[in-house]
Point group: D3
Chain length 251, copies 6
């Protein structure tokens, strides 16, 4: 699924992609039998299992508001990575990175949810990385949206959400961009990620607006023109992901 944005470069990326190419993206719905929505999302070798759990009621601080709640938890299996990491359950605490990404996924999804339309129901999105090869948080957001859509549809079928309600305003997806070898590229795999000078994760709605922009200078600080090029790539990439989400949901 190549979307060529910058093709002035002749040297291919490590995996042969052009700078504006996504990796192969697969979205498999209903991967689990129990969850109200579930998706195995793959961005190349990155593989994230997204499960949406719907429950009646909301956290205490939201009770009586008439509004629902959507939240997310992200985690990596110990051997999703190249070398094994210790389990956070065994260490007895969640690391900073895990916390940060869980919060990012939750915020990103809530940006497209009209919690009033959801009623006092809660949907938790569990995003567990089965295999990591860069872009796990962006794959998680992209897959979690589809699982969320399935859980909302389930809630509507069950009558928990009114038939007339539209809890989802539009779709949301995410992609990473970065400057690798001096060149802005889309959807970095792990090998690219570790050598990137700038690393940015961008979360966009289907209409091309921004939900989150998180850019970090890994090596030297970046300037406005680099930032602009990265944003262009990201917006285009999210546009393609929004199509893939729509196709998956139409199946």
């Amino acid at each position: 699924m190549p979307i060529t944005i910058i093709d002035e470069t002749t040297t291919a990326r490590t995996d042969g992609r052009a700078p504006g190419d996504l990796r192969d993206v697969k979205i498999t719905r209903n991967w689990l039998d129990h969850a109200e929505g579930s998706v195995l999302v793959e961005f190349g070798r990155t593989r994230v299992l997204c499960a949406a759990s719907l429950t009646e009621g909301v956290p205490r601080w939201r009770r009586g508001s008439g509004e629902g709640w959507v939240t997310a938890e992200y985690a990596m299996l110990p051997r999703s990575t190249n070398t094994r990491s210790d389990r956070e359950s065994v260490k007895g605490k969640i690391g900073g990175r895990t916390h940060e990404i869980s919060r990012l996924i939750g915020r990103s999804l809530r940006a497209v949810v009209d919690t009033k339309q959801l009623g006092e129901n809660t949907i938790v999105l569990d995003c567990d990385v089965l295999q990591a090869d860069g872009g796990t948080r962006t794959a998680a957001i992209t897959g979690a949206y589809v699982a969320l859509a399935d859980a909302v549809a389930f809630a509507t079928r069950k009558g928990w959400v009114k038939a007339s309600a539209q809890p989802l305003i539009q779709s949301v997806s995410a992609v990473s961009v970065g400057v690798v070898g001096g060149r802005p590229v889309l959807d970095l795999c792990y090998d690219e990620d570790v050598t990137a000078d700038t690393d940015m994760n961008v979360v966009c709605t289907a209409d091309g607006r921004f939900v989150e922009v998180q850019g970090t200078a890994e090596g030297v600080p970046f300037d406005r023109s680099e930032l602009d090029a990265l944003l262009d790539l990201a917006v285009a990439g999210c546009g393609r992901l929004a199509q893939l989400q729509a196709e998956a949901l139409a199946r």
Copy 2:
């Protein structure tokens, strides 16, 4: 893969199996790209991802012994079950059941490992339940053995283990048995498990000897004849699993 032991019963089990039938068992090797051995094992709808991680060296208390170490960690994804469970990493501690099963898997595998032949290498087996429908610990042991065998083969290819060494003495597998509706049955699914009077997990070597026998009276205590019938079923079931492991490793 039916193995009929007791067929005097005419009423089928909830899923149509005879008392001595295993569920459909699938063993998919190399499900992950990074791990030295990895298996997705399925006992019906129960699905466990077993990843073997090989590292040079052993825990401090074993250094200088010339012997290797094999250990295991078991965990369930929050939505592997019918209703979502809280993450143990978020709760900040491992529950008793998790501890117990992790220890059982580790002991079961070590029973067939000659740690002297392994040299000072460590293999950690991560058994993560992606979907639970009864028998997750027995599926985990059965799958983990195959992942372990692949990791040992990897270590041998890399020269970490001597070509002449035989770290694996024989294979090991496990199955649950129980008394359901007054009748001993093999390989209980969740619906059977919750109604069982007696619940037993049996771990056997390929030559039909016992590594672990763990029987618990859930309702009324059981007598020797029930125990004997359950052990018969379990030994036959493990025999069939040993064949399936061998077939998977031969592919």
Copy 3:
């Protein structure tokens, strides 16, 4: 209190016992002033303090059921063992073995409790190992039953449990068996335990039925005939323990 089962062996055990001999077992009731039931139970040098605490009400998940609850917590004092162990309270978490044994004791006691007859009352059994010389979990179960019986009697005297109710169905006791030096023996002390090939804990009711059977191959896997011999020893040992419990309760 020797109960000879196998006497073809002429070589005595390290402490002079025949294979089917229990160690000296002492059951001292009312060792504490505050607890509703309390027992200092001794299996040779193993010494466990079992305290039964009775409270009105049940855990939240059981409220309104009309049924009671019985649970247990096991722990070892830091210097109950040969070399000092760190406190689990200082480490900030319960180890796997502690979890496992606490759960075993709780299940074993509940197997002989008719929770409906108990009414909505809770009894917690605290089993604290003051000195460990093998068989701490089996001594704990054996002593805890007596403390439980005293707490139930207390509850009946106080009218918390109806005079006509029979919350205890029968007694329960436990003993370890194992294969030491190729020979099945009963009630292993620590020195025997560390050299045992097979180690089994068996929990029986007074009528000789099984509540728990937990056998583990420490060295080589064991076969059915060894398992049978161990079960025979254990059933006989539990029978003797049931007598001792009855005698203690009759005093």
Copy 4:
């Protein structure tokens, strides 16, 4: 210290500032006697104590590299906020927000440190919020840089860092921007922050390049033109902060 960027608006902000105005910024060096560098930084009523602690040596994973290490920890006093929050030490774990901000401050400072020039020394920046009124993380970065500069100077005076070395490449500062009432504004106080549609934290070097850009749509997603306006405001604000840092260090 007003820096007017957008002055087409006639309605003042809640505290009377123009959209491009910073709050009163005060940087007080040497607020502590023990620390190698310390700054009390104030952005209006937001007050953060930044202490730089210099120690010889680096974390284990960096030993022998010849390179130094700079890291940061952020925390809020329980009553820095409008209503008291529980202490994270009492809760026994660090929250996600604390983790996230600590990591942000550390990355931001490392972006302007040449760790090779620092030699194998570690500098920890503790940023404790004494009073919070919005923008605590940006104040922390801005103040921490000055404390870091003082600690580097201390290290140089002591000879821990060579006289010829230049561990600091340039200065770094940070500011928040957001869309409040439909209008992009600089350096939000708490009242503005809670009503902002978009909230962005920008970290810039003295030469106006980006170290971090973190924008979040709190309400509706934002478009490219809003993003551009916010970036313009932020770059100008960081420029002013860089001057104030330089003035403080010149005193």
Copy 5:
């Protein structure tokens, strides 16, 4: 503010004080904008920020009693000390010393509070050590009383406490005394504290009675005459502190 008690000594203390001299004591009220009472208290270079947080309601175990509750939490910033200490929040647990001092402060304040007069309101005193140079717990108690008085006045103004009520019986303050170089001295700074043979913290009410007396032999045990001399010094020192508290509250 010298109060000379023992002046037979001619050699001055390390900072020039006479044995019965307090360090310079400063009590700055309203150091924070949000808290209902707040004090920056300084005993020489020791600097503690005391914030009083008033909330309606009391802990569960006190509900319906009609009585209020006063408690305290003490903590040190990581770089309040000469060398940096790890954060207790990062370590995931509170140390023994922190626990001990928090409890001491709470008890000391409750000794002068008539909780019935307070009504069902809670006041939490957070005492955070910004800089430590000996005597942090005594400075904390002395400052916390003033913050408490301001919070009570606030509660009275708001009508949470009846205008006629007198929740504060009298003032309370604390000071350290010790035997340094064979000589009893008042209000030890850190350098004196580490070399003291006996270290005592004394908490007194304004009328010169004792709330807490905590004496510890650091080196050799102390005798009754030393104890008496230390108590004399402490009572005089607390008397002076009570005046300073009264002056601060009168401003």
Copy 6:
């Protein structure tokens, strides 16, 4: 073992003792088989098991000093008290009171140990309260000293401590005193403790000097004359305890 100090009172205490009477004190040595020193100490119904564990080597921060280390850990069994308390191991953290008492016991013992004479050996005193009826910390100190003496004697016999060394300077014991019903009394049982106006724990050496004096006003603050009366009682009580310790060690 009555030691009458104040006999102007005619009304007896709840248990019939005169104000200056200790409860029955029993010191049973070698209560455990494994520990290098062990004592079951009883102050009336208060029963504390003190185990001394000797190990070669010292904590890291003391290595190479040539000096030994003595420390203590105090804990209560869940049902040592009138109503059951939750286990600190299950709660995952040590409470403030436990911390405080552990530290007190450790300091008290170190006050009579010449760590240079001990050589680089560590002795840990575990003081576990089996039954609590007031005065657990003072019983713990009193019993722990005897266990310590036995462990030192063991170390000397084994040659870990030189035959000529005298690691113990003198004995140490502790007792509680308090003002109950307006009258100073010695060695309070629980019923007295809860009604006491002033509560003081005093740790004395055999020669009648003070190691610790910890007095707390529970109700109204106390004055100097009350303090003096309490100290008199405590010194006499510790004197009697020192005799009992000596007698126990002489047996």
